[in-house]
């Protein structure tokens, strides 16, 4: 029991650190890459929450697929839409 509590506390600390990093990111002069970086950090946070808090770690394959299929469909949708918009912006 103790180990599981410890894991969750560690994950919480990691999440807070990532939050601080995201906020710090706004002041860093990253320019175009800021959107990609902040989304990467957000994905990392989401992965931590899914893996430990929602206990996907001990879940069977089926539940994992159920958890990820919506994200996969969404990722495809975001990718398609962003590419379409980028093509339009660059005069395509």
């Amino acid at each position: 029991m103790g180990a599981q509590v410890r894991n969750r506390l560690i994950v919480w600390v990691a999440l807070m650190a990532l939050l601080a990093l995201t906020v710090a990111l706004t002041f860093a002069p990253l320019g175009g890459f800021r959107l990609a970086a902040s989304l990467a950090i957000a994905t990392a946070k989401a992965a931590l929450i899914y893996w430990v808090f929602m206990d996907l770690r001990t879940a069977d394959g089926l539940t994992r697929i159920a958890a990820l299929c919506a994200l996969a469909l969404l990722a495809i949708l975001v990718l398609l839409a962003v590419i379409d918009a980028a093509v339009r912006v660059s005069g395509g």
């Binding site: 089926l62 469909l73 495809i76 949708l77 379409d84 093509v87 339009r88 395509g92």
Partner: protein, 543 residues
């Protein structure tokens, strides 16, 4: 499948119909079979409402001018026809009635995984229905079932908010039904019922449920955005506030194309069952037919752009969507050819359900291939938004899904009610529906190519003869659809009691008495052979 031994007398396992007669026992029952009947009654009521609107449309189109309805009345008639038929009849029809009733029986389970959630789905459906009836009572809405912006957000004066609420609510009923089916199919299969032995009816409902769960929320959000724009002026679709009207079309069709597969996949599942039962023969290419259901669900998500070829979408996107629409037609072609091959060297009975199945295959082929025509960019530039498109999707929706619904009704009626109906009348109804349908919608293909736009109550006089043909066909169809109501309800009182397996079909649902007992199986079944194992003599010999 092990030969079934069960006590001859039906009384010992009390049939689910006799397990309680009070209204409370029906309205608060969590028995999947009773909920299926509740759905059957409610969707039949909405089918009647939608059919009335269709009758008004066809009556108006008899004359080139607006003699029967005003233009306003016509706009509201086709909008209500679209909304009621799509969301309140077609989408719930086969899954909510036959999916609910049969999936637990077919996989050897006592009930769906979440019985209370199943009852909640029906109540959500009824709540959505109340919203639609309210909208109908206070004057309807004049935006078409597609609710395109900025017409629906700024210029429509009908009751857009209440209709958006109605569709939003009924959407959740479908999501919960889909969720229930997915979990049931994964966790409640009887021992021995592996995925390779699942009836194809269950495979197609599994694919449908995946679409229901993943696509319906997108429509829910699009409706929330319409409501937000009408109430709070949020400019997501309003070009003057930086929004883009095409964004709504993208969201709407991202849901609505998978939705047409929600309507047709269950029908394909029914036809797979009917064709094998008709021919008393295993399905040809079981793996391919099952896999094509999943393929349709998958590819169905990436073809929505073919609704927007002339809507201002970039031509390059249109070319990609046009190609993908060809790819999505391949699994449907595989299914049709496999059904036809199943009939080869079969022992084909021409009872009513099997006539409906053959009707489905014929009409669905025409619908599917005209769909390919519409996927051709240059052809779509001419016939988009004309009655050609109307005819295409009615061939799939009415010729396909509704015919299969009636086929399912005639196939499983003895199992659901324990009564046989008059087979001669069944065949007459099937023939009349097939004839009336073709007479109604084939002229609309010709009209569409002639340049007759859809949603028009007025038209040039030279089109009148085609419209009159179509309206005549519609009257035949109206009568033909009323026939089953008569002889099926008649069979409830007068029909002879039905044996457990009237069609000598293969499947766990035929191994329980008709109507099945409250807990489906007295001894949990064990499955030992593949699906549709008609070679077993035991099934064939029992008269």
């Amino acid at each position: 499948m092990s030969p079934v031994h069960r006590p001859e007398t039906v009384e010992e396992q009390q049939s689910y119909l006799r397990a309680g007669h009070s209204l409370r026992s029906w309205l608060f029952s969590t028995d999947h079979k009773r909920i299926a009947l509740l759905y059957l009654i409610s969707i039949s009521a909405f089918f009647f409402v939608g059919a009335l609107a269709a009758a008004a449309i066809r009556l108006e189109l008899v004359t080139p001018q607006t003699d029967f309805l005003t233009r306003e009345g016509y706009n509201r008639a086709f909008t209500i026809h679209g909304i009621v038929m799509v969301w309140f009849f077609l989408i719930p029809s086969i899954p909510a009635v036959f999916g609910n009733f049969l999936i637990p029986l077919m996989i050897g389970a006592k009930d769906l995984a979440f019985p209370k959630l199943n009852l909640l789905s029906w109540y959500i459906y009824v709540l959505g229905g109340i919203f639609v009836l309210y909208t109908l009572a206070v004057g309807g809405v004049d935006t078409g079932w597609t609710l395109y912006t900025p017409l629906s957000t700024q210029f429509a004066n009908g009751h857009v908010l209440t209709i958006a609420a109605a569709i939003f609510i009924v959407g959740f009923s479908s999501i919960l039904t889909g969720l229930n089916f997915i979990v049931t199919i994964h966790t409640l299969r009887a021992p021995g019922m592996t995925w390779g032995r699942l009836p194809l009816f269950v495979w197609s409902h599994y694919a449908t449920s995946v679409i229901l769960v993943l696509a319906t929320p997108v429509l829910a959000l699009a409706l929330v955005l319409i409501a937000a724009e009408r109430l709070f002026g949020l400019g997501v679709f309003d070009p003057k506030l930086g929004g883009d009207p095409l964004l709504f079309q993208n969201l709407f069709w991202f849901y609505s194309h998978p939705a047409v597969y929600i309507m047709v996949l269950p029908a394909m599942g029914v036809v797979s069952e009917l064709v094998t039962a008709a021919a008393h023969k295993r399905i040809f290419g079981y793996v391919f037919v099952a896999a094509s259901s999943i393929a349709i669900a998958g590819v169905g998500f990436v073809v929505w752009g073919h609704h927007m070829f002339v809507a201002g979408q970039s031509p390059y996107a249109s070319v990609v969507f046009s190609f993908l629409s060809l790819v999505v037609a391949v699994p449907s072609a595989i299914k049709v050819y496999n059904w036809t091959a199943t009939l080869y060297k079969g022992d084909i009975s021409l009872d009513p359900p099997f006539l409906f199945a053959m009707g489905f295959i014929g009409l669905f082929v025409i619908g599917g291939l005209t769909g390919l025509m519409l996927a051709m960019l240059a052809v779509d530039a001419h016939v988009h938004d004309t009655t050609f498109v109307v005819a295409h999707f009615h061939y799939i929706m009415v010729g396909g899904a509704v015919t299969a619904f009636f086929g399912a009704l005639h196939f499983w009626w003895p199992k659901i009610t324990g009564r046989m109906y008059n087979l001669v009348w069944g065949r007459i109804a099937a023939a009349l529906i097939f004839l009336g349908f073709n007479l109604t919608f084939f002229p609309q293909f010709v009209l569409g190519y002639l340049g007759m736009p859809r949603r028009y109550p007025v038209y040039p006089p030279q089109f009148q003869w085609l419209h009159d043909l179509s309206s005549a066909g519609a009257s035949i169809l109206g009568v033909a659809y009323a026939l089953p109501l008569v002889y099926l309800v008649w069979s409830l009182r007068r029909g002879p009691p039905a044996p457990a397996n009237p069609w000598e079909a293969f499947g766990l649902e035929w191994t329980v008495p008709s109507p099945p007992p409250k807990h489906n199986f007295d001894t949990p079944p064990v499955v030992t052979g593949p699906a549709y194992d008609y070679r077993l003599k035991t099934v064939r010999k029992r008269r």
